[in-house]
């Protein structure tokens, strides 16, 4: 049990460190880095590699945005299994629906409640 937390911590932290190195050492903008990370998640997910990391690190692998890419591609695969070709289109967002809907809903809610403030 305690090892679950330790593994989540160091794996998640390490994924962030990779992004930090890209920020400081290359000309890549944060938006490009995030985009690459999601695509990396899709690629790793499609080979089933990312699932092994999730088994090991739990939230350390699912919470970083890479996990979002994995969710998308896993959803597409599941969609194909259940619906055939149509699943290519319905599976991905279907699997990630919770996160996408939550960000739209909470984003809107926050804009109603809060106002921009100078730091």
């Amino acid at each position: 049990m305690i090892m679950d937390y330790v593994n989540a911590f160091w794996v998640g932290g390490l994924i962030c460190v990779v992004a930090q190195i890209l920020i400081d050492k290359t000309k890549m903008t944060p938006a490009r880095i995030l985009t690459s990370f999601v695509v990396a998640g899709v690629v790793l997910g499609s080979f089933g590699i990312y699932d092994k990391l999730i088994d090991f690190a739990g939230a350390g692998a699912t919470v970083p945005i890479v996990g979002f890419g994995n969710t998308l591609v896993k959803g597409v695969m599941k969609g194909i299994r259940e619906e055939g070709f149509l699943g290519v289109f319905t599976g991905g967002i279907g699997a990630a629906a919770g996160g996408i809907a939550a960000s739209i809903f909470f984003g809107f809610l926050a804009s109603v409640i809060f106002n921009a403030k100078q730091k």
Binding site: A8, C16, Q20, I33, T35, V63, I80, A102, S111, N115
Partner: protein
Amino acid sequence: MNNSNQEYLDYIEKNSPKSKLWRNMLLAFLVGGGICTIGQGIGDIYEKVWGLNEESVKNAVPITMIFLGALFTGFNLYHKLAKFAGAGTLVPITGFANAVVSPAIEFKKEGYVLGVAAKMFTIAGPVLVYGINAAIAVGMLGYLMGY
């Protein structure tokens, strides 16, 4: 006067202060790891205390993390943490929430339709576009290869 000057560019490259890489890496590691650990804790509570099944936990954790990211952004705290944590707050899904919520709040002054709604995905949009398209491309390829 376009006088692109390699010598000057080299001079600037050499003389501009550099990011403190080791310090930034350490902070990104600690904060990023910390956020993931919180996610792990939330998952455990859902699973072991509330007795949610595995599939529900998979959905509930990101939703909760996004809620927390939105909340911290709204309370003007997320960017304060991000100033130190850098990628540590950028890469977790809470950073995605921050990227959605911050323009929504900022552009409220341009109205709820063309401000909040239209600008909501100016920063986070690319992640969805490329993530979803990459997954579809992989899916099509897999389908054609007879997966």
